[in-house]
Symmetry: C2
């Protein structure tokens, strides 16, 4: 019988509340799916800082290295706005991404039919939308050195961040993009600013080269990242897979998520390279929404993105496609039946609590 | 009698076509406004490269330095996709910005009432929208060094761009933001990624410090740039003035422009610091849309953004607020009367040519 070892990192804000619902789904799966799940829970982000002065402990990092997958909630909040840069909540997440080498971040932007009217975009622009943003996650300006603030002789300060990409980093994310496209609608749009950035020039060249040598059957299009932002707003359905760097991916995937009207619904997967011997990938799954400190502790957060992130873990890390379909189907059914957490409810409509939504999804499963 | 010396740089693609209409408006103003305009025209971008192998000549730069204002069309196009990086079309524009020290880029995002339905966003989300994106234009990753592609010992290439900001660069753009807000709705939203970038940390601190010391009467809000992109799509009317760095400004202002449904209508101004003696600022005015090579030469481009850019020049560089109001009013009248270039026409609606639109605006003036 298959057995999986998951590390749960609820984090800050609404993270713990939505992770509770994941725990309930896991208990159900443990009983009914034919696989067993062992879970451990640890601290990350501001809550880790409060407990032991750093945003993730070496011990938690060890557990993450050994787990079949990390299930991550959210980090950050105004409470930690003035903690030192090195130990700010986000540093815990960035260390996980970097140390586990999770270079491929998959962010589906899907418009759930039941929610098409929740978007600020017109219905016909987003109805049926199903695109995938593939964001490079371990390179670029997030990690390049130097990254510092220095004081100059004249007393001024100078801040530096370094956008840095090397050949293998671009080639490996390009390959993931083309592989994903083959399993979808066979089109990749690569976005950069080659008209301004050297990293954009290299990105553009290498994506084209990988395409020509290995994936000529996939349609490839290049777009400047600013134009890409515009086109996402104008007519997002023109895209299938968008591949872009760490910082552009951060911006563009947030815009895409907001377009769908389903921000509280969107999961993401961050994957490493397959181990040459076992074929297993390191992986972390997290909702696209943040820690939402304004609604934390009220029991009203939408747990769907978090549960859908577990669904992605079942699919990509546990090879349990049927169980993943069961979870996704339960979410769609519950939405179609009209249950709405506060973020989704139309004006005047009743809303259900976080645990009510969890109940409904479990019942549908 | 006031006299102004303008340098016209039509550039590439639809640039020359829309600049022709600016020439006609200038002829009219020369006769009827009480001021005289002397104009010179020169090459920039791909057309400059074709003529003399660089994207702007030293001679044209001299003229730009001496002019009261530069009126700029657009640069770039697939024709020049493989020219060397140093002389690509965009380098001409970047040199103008840098050498004239045009650090403050004002990009209004306005939804013209007559066009509210042209947006992909719902009418109530954008109707009456009037926000201003203030983009820092001479710093950041656009100009920081090192900026290069090197070959490593293992044969891989490494591309580097450097995001760099110093105290005075951030302070001076912050001051412009607060001044602009005082003349509008008194609110500034500053956007950066302080949770990931050192430049974001310094940006955030200095904007707060300038606010506290010099502009405590203005409302100041800080937002992470990715969340800012989301909020622009969700409910753009929450903003008044958004101040942000060069690269985030590039992305966010394009998204904002597309929201309005009025991309072909939006002008921009790039301003330097006032001269300590004369009080005059160097300035460049350009439409937010690009060179649109796909429709170039067909006589169907929308000249409104270009003419509105001349309007901004009248206001900010010529101190001719009345003439600027006249231009803006004529544009609004013509739109209200129903004239539409192809980009604005609804399906099945008749559209007018570039010069027809110019005629209509001149007639309305
Ligand atoms: C929390 C933060 C560091 C993170 C990022 O910038 O990558 C977040 O915005 C995201 O998109 O996952
Ligand atoms: C043409 C290009 C260099 C430019 C930029 O990136 O600044 C353009 O996108 C803009 O926004 O003015």
């Amino acid at each position: 019988m298959a057995s999986f070892n998951l590390l749960l990192l609820p984090g800050d804000g609404i993270g713990p509340e939505v992770m509770t619902e994941v725990g309930r789904v896991l208990t159900w799966l443990d009983k009914n799916s034919g696989a067993t799940f062992e879970t451990e829970t640890d601290l990350v982000g501001g809550s880790a800082y409060d407990a032991h002065g750093e945003s993730i402990s070496d011990d938690a990092m060890d557990k993450a290295q050994k787990a079949d997958a990390v299930i991550f909630g959210a980090v950050g909040g105004p409470k930690w706005d003035s903690v030192p840069y090195e130990v700010r909540p986000e540093a815990g997440l960035l260390r996980l991404r970097k140390d586990l080498e999770l270079f491929a971040n998959l962010r589906p932007a899907i418009c759930y039919p039941a929610l098409a009217d929740a978007s600020s975009l017109k219905r016909d622009v987003i109805e049926g939308l199903d695109i995938l943003i593939l964001r490079e996650l371990t390179g670029g300006v997030y990690f390049g050195e130097p990254k510092e603030i220095v004081t100059l002789e004249n007393g001024e300060k100078r801040a530096v961040d370094t956008q840095l990409y090397t050949t293998h980093e671009i080639e490996r994310i390009a390959r993931v993009a083309f592989e994903l496209a083959r399993a979808r609608n066979n089109k990749v749009t690569s976005m950069e600013k080659r008209n301004v950035m050297r990293s954009g020039v290299l990105w553009n060249q290498l994506v084209s080269a990988v395409h020509k040598a290995e994936y000529p059957d996939v349609e490839l299009e290049h777009m400047l990242a600013d134009a890409g932002g515009m086109q996402l707003v104008r007519w997002p359905k023109q895209f299938d897979v968008i591949v872009t760097d760490n910082l552009f991916g951060d911006m563009l995937s947030d815009v895409a998520a907001m377009l769908t009207g389903s921000l509280g619904m969107l999961p993401s997967a961050s994957l490493g390279a397959p181990d040459p011997e076992t074929g297993k990938r390191k992986a972390l799954y997290e909702p696209v929404h943040g820690s939402a400190p304004d609604i934390a502790g009220k029991g009203i957060a939408n747990p769907i993105a978090m549960i859908a992130s577990l669904g992605m873990a079942l699919r990509y890390s546990c090879d349990m496609g049927d169980a993943a379909d069961l979870v996704d189907g339960a979410i769609a059914d519950v939405l179609a039946s009209g249950a709405r957490t506060a973020d989704l409810a139309a004006k005047g409509q009743n809303s259900v609590s976080t645990s009510d939504m969890g109940d409904a999804i479990l019942a549908a499963m």
